[in-house]
Symmetry: C2
C-alpha cells in the first residue's frame, strides 16, 4: 500500500474489483449496474493490452530510469486517449543505478589449488559500492537479529551474511505475504544494522520460494554515511557459504559498483474521470508505475496500474458517470521509498477530507484473497476481524458511510 | 548413459541400488547378504560426505577446468584411502571456456526513445563467439524444424530463435526425461542447422520447467567451420522476443566471447576392488565426474560418482569380497561429448567380453524409477517391455546369466 492516510469505505462494493464506491453513480447503484461493470471488465482485454504495452514495450521501470520516463508517457497517452483529464504530478525520486556485481569465495578450509567459487548475487536497491577492484573480507554467518547482537564484537571489518531461510511452509499455508515480510525484514534492516556494527558489506539470503540459484533484489535502508555494499545472494550460495563456514573461515571477494545519483525528476500520472455531483471529492484507484530493474514488474505492479486504468475505460464504455471524481493514479517510486505517494499526500494535505477513499492493488494479479486497509476509527466495524494479518475474505459492511 | 556397449545383466539384483551383480560374492548371495549391503549403505553418510566434498570444496567441474582437475585428485584420494587400486586413465577432453555473455533487444516496433531491453541468456557449451564489440541482426522466431526448413530462405544473415516451450504437462506425467529430450533436441541440433542456412547466431528457449528468467546451458553440436554464437535464452525472454516479433521486426545485439581452446589433458578415475575368482572380469559402477560450469552438478552427476564410490566403501565395511572385480569409474567429459567413455571403450576394445556389466547413474539422486539399458540380444528377455522409453518399474529377470 502506498497511501495509508485516506480512509477506505464501502469495502463490500470495492470487492467487485473495479475499485468503485457504493452510491457513487448517477445511474441506479444496484446489482444490475454493478454486474454490468464486472462483466464489461471481464470481457474486455483492454487492460491486458495496456499491460503488454507497459511490460513488453517499456520493460523495467526503476525510478529515475529511462523506463520510468517512458512509462509515464505511455500511461498518460493511453489515459488521454480515453478522454480522461491527465495531470503529471512532479515527484523528486531516488536515482540508484545498478553497476557491475560479482561475488567470489576466494578462500576456505579444504579449498583445492586454483579453485575459487562464484557467488550469485545482486545488489539491493540503495546499496553502496565496493572499490572498483573489489573488497575482500571474511564472512560471518548470522541467523537472526539476536545473533547479530550477541556477536556484535565480531562484525567489524567483516562481511555479514544473514542466512535466513524463506518460510516456505508458511507460504504454502496461504501466508505468502507474511512469509515474505518476515524474510524481507532482514533485507530491509539487516545491512543497516551490520553497517552500524562496522561491517564492510552485508549479504542477505534471497527472499522468496523460487530458488534455482536466483537472487531477488529489493530495497535496503542504509544511512547515507554508512552506505555499505549490500546484496542478495541466491539461497544455494548462502547455504554453501554457511556450510563452508562450518569447516573454517570463509573469505569473500565482492565487486559491486552501483551508484546513488542525485534525485531525478519524475511524475505520478493522475487521470481523472470528473464526478457529476461532487467533483471535488476524489476516489482513488491505483497501482505503482515504477518497478525494480531486474524484470518487467508485470505483477509488481503493472497489473495494478493497468487494472486501475481500465476503471475509466469500463465506465466510459458503459456510459456511467460517477458522482464523485474517480482518480486513477500511477504512483512513481513506490519500490524505493514511496516518493510519489508522499508527494501526493503533501499536495493534498490541506484538504485530505476530499480524498474519500484510495485503493492500490499491489499484491499481484490473480484470484483476490482480500484487502489490507487503514480506516478512521469510526469505520473500524466495517473491517473484517483479522486486522494485522492477511484476510482470506472480507465480510460486507452495512454501515459504510458517504 | 556413458557406455552403452557393455551388456547389462541381472537387472533385478542391480535394483538394490548398490550396483552389484547376482552371484558375485564369495559369501552366500542370499537375501540376508543383500539386505546387509542395502542397510549398511542406507545408514552411512560416507557417500553424502563425499558429495559435499565434491560440490562444496570443488564446485563446477567442466572438462578442462581447474575444477575438473581438482575433482580427479579428490576422488582418487578418497578411493585410495579406501584401499582401492586407483588408476588415472588419460583422456583428451574438449576445453571450452565461457566468456562475457550479453543480450539486448535494441529495436522493435513501438520501442520508446532510449529504451533497449536486456535478454537473459547463457552460451551453450561449444558455442562460437561474436566479435568483441557484439553482433547485431534481426531475429527470426522458429517453432520447429519443419518451420526452419519452410523458412530456410529467410535465415541468412539473421539470428534464429527456436522458441519451443518445455512440455511441462509431459514432465508432470512422470515423463520429465522425454520432455527434456524433446526440448534439448533444439538445443543440440538447432544451432547447427541454423548455421548451415547462414544464420549469424542461434538462440534456443531454455529447456526445463524452472523458468524464473533462468537460462539453462548444455551442449550444442556445431561444425568447426560454422561455430556460430549459440545461447539459451530464458523462457521469459524467448516469449518476449516472440511477442515483439508479432508487432514487427526485432533487432538483437549479442555479445558473447566464449573460447574453444586446444584439447586438454584429463582423466577417468578408475578404482578397483579386485575379484577373488575372476579378477580379470569387470563390473562397472559409475557416474560422470565433469559437470557444466554454471552450478556444482550435485545431481548431474556428483551423486552418481559418490554413490558408485560408496559401493567399495560398503563392501569393505561388510568384509564382502566380490568374485569379479568391482570397478568404480568417475568418467570425465560426459557433458561435452563423452571423451572419457570413448577412451575407456577404446582401451578395452580388444577384450570387451571381460566387461561383464556397466552401470552409470546419471538421472539425479532420489527415488529410483527404473533403468535404461542396452543388452545383447540373448538377454533381451531380461528387460522390461517398455524399451525405448523411460520405465517406471523394471520387473525381475529370472534368466539373468553370469
Amino acid at each position: 500500500m502506498q497511501l495509508r492516510k485516506p480512509l477506505l469505505s464501502a469495502l463490500a462494493t470495492c470487492l467487485l474489483g473495479a475499485g468503485l464506491i457504493g452510491n457513487t453513480f448517477a445511474a441506479p447503484n444496484d446489482a444490475e449496474t454493478l454486474g454490468k461493470i464486472r462483466d464489461a471488465a471481464m470481457q474486455d482485454d483492454w487492460a491486458y493490452q495496456r499491460l503488454e504495452d507497459l511490460t513488453d514495450l517499456v520493460g523495467p521501470r526503476l525510478s529515475g530510469s529511462p523506463g520510468a520516463t517512458a512509462a509515464v508517457e505511455q500511461v498518460a497517452d493511453a489515459m488521454r486517449k480515453l478522454g480522461a483529464k491527465v495531470t503529471l504530478q512532479p515527484v523528486k525520486v531516488p536515482h540508484w543505478v545498478r553497476g557491475e556485481e560479482k561475488g567470489e569465495i576466494v578462500d576456505y578450509k579444504g579449498r583445492p589449488a586454483n579453485i575459487t567459487q562464484k557467488v550469485v548475487l545482486t545488489a539491493l536497491g540503495g546499496s553502496g559500492a565496493t572499490p572498483a577492484t573489489g573488497l575482500t573480507a571474511n564472512v560471518i554467518v548470522i541467523r537472526d537479529f539476536d545473533e547479530l547482537k550477541a556477536r556484535a564484537a565480531e562484525v567489524k571489518g567483516n562481511i555479514v551474511l544473514f542466512d535466513v531461510a524463506f518460510d516456505q511452509a508458511m507460504a504454502d499455508r496461504g501466508l505468502a505475504g507474511p512469509a515474505y515480510g518476515r524474510g524481507s525484514s532482514f533485507r530491509t534492516n539487516g545491512p543497516r544494522q551490520a553497517a552500524e556494527l562496522g561491517a564492510v558489506a552485508a549479504l542477505v539470503r534471497s527472499v522468496g520460494g523460487a530458488n534455482f540459484r536466483l537472487p531477488h533484489t529489493g530495497l535496503t535502508v542504509l544511512a547515507d554515511g554508512k552506505r555499505i555494499p549490500a546484496a542478495a545472494v541466491s539461497a544455494e550460495d548462502a547455504m554453501l557459504i554457511t556450510r563452508l563456514s562450518k569447516r573454517g573461515p570463509v573469505k569473500l571477494k565482492l565487486t559491486m559498483t552501483p551508484q546513488m545519483l542525485p534525485e531525478a525528476d519524475s511524475f505520478n500520472v493522475i487521470a481523472d474521470l470528473p464526478g457529476t455531483e461532487k467533483p471535488e471529492e476524489v476516489v482513488i484507484v491505483s497501482g505503482h508505475l515504477d518497478s525494480w530493474d531486474l524484470a518487467t514488474g508485470a505483477h509488481d505492479d503493472a497489473t495494478g496500474v493497468t487494472g486501475a486504468m481500465a476503471v475509466i475505460k469500463t465506465l466510459n464504455q458503459l456510459g456511467l458517470k460517477p458522482r464523485r471524481t474517480i482518480r486513477v493514479v500511477a504512483w512513481m517510486s513506490e519500490e524505493n521509498g514511496g516518493a510519489g505517494g508522499n508527494a501526493y499526500h503533501k499536495s493534498n494535505k490541506a484538504a485530505l477530507d476530499k480524498q474519500i477513499a484510495a485503493i492500490e492493488s499491489d499484491g499481484g494479479a490473480g484470484r483476490s484473497f482480500g484487502f489490507q486497509a487503514s480506516v478512521r476509527p469510526q469505520y473500524e466495524n466495517c473491517l473484517p476481524r483479522c486486522r494485522n494479518r492477511w484476510c482470506r475474505s472480507a465480510p460486507a459492511c452495512s454501515s459504510a458511510a458517504t
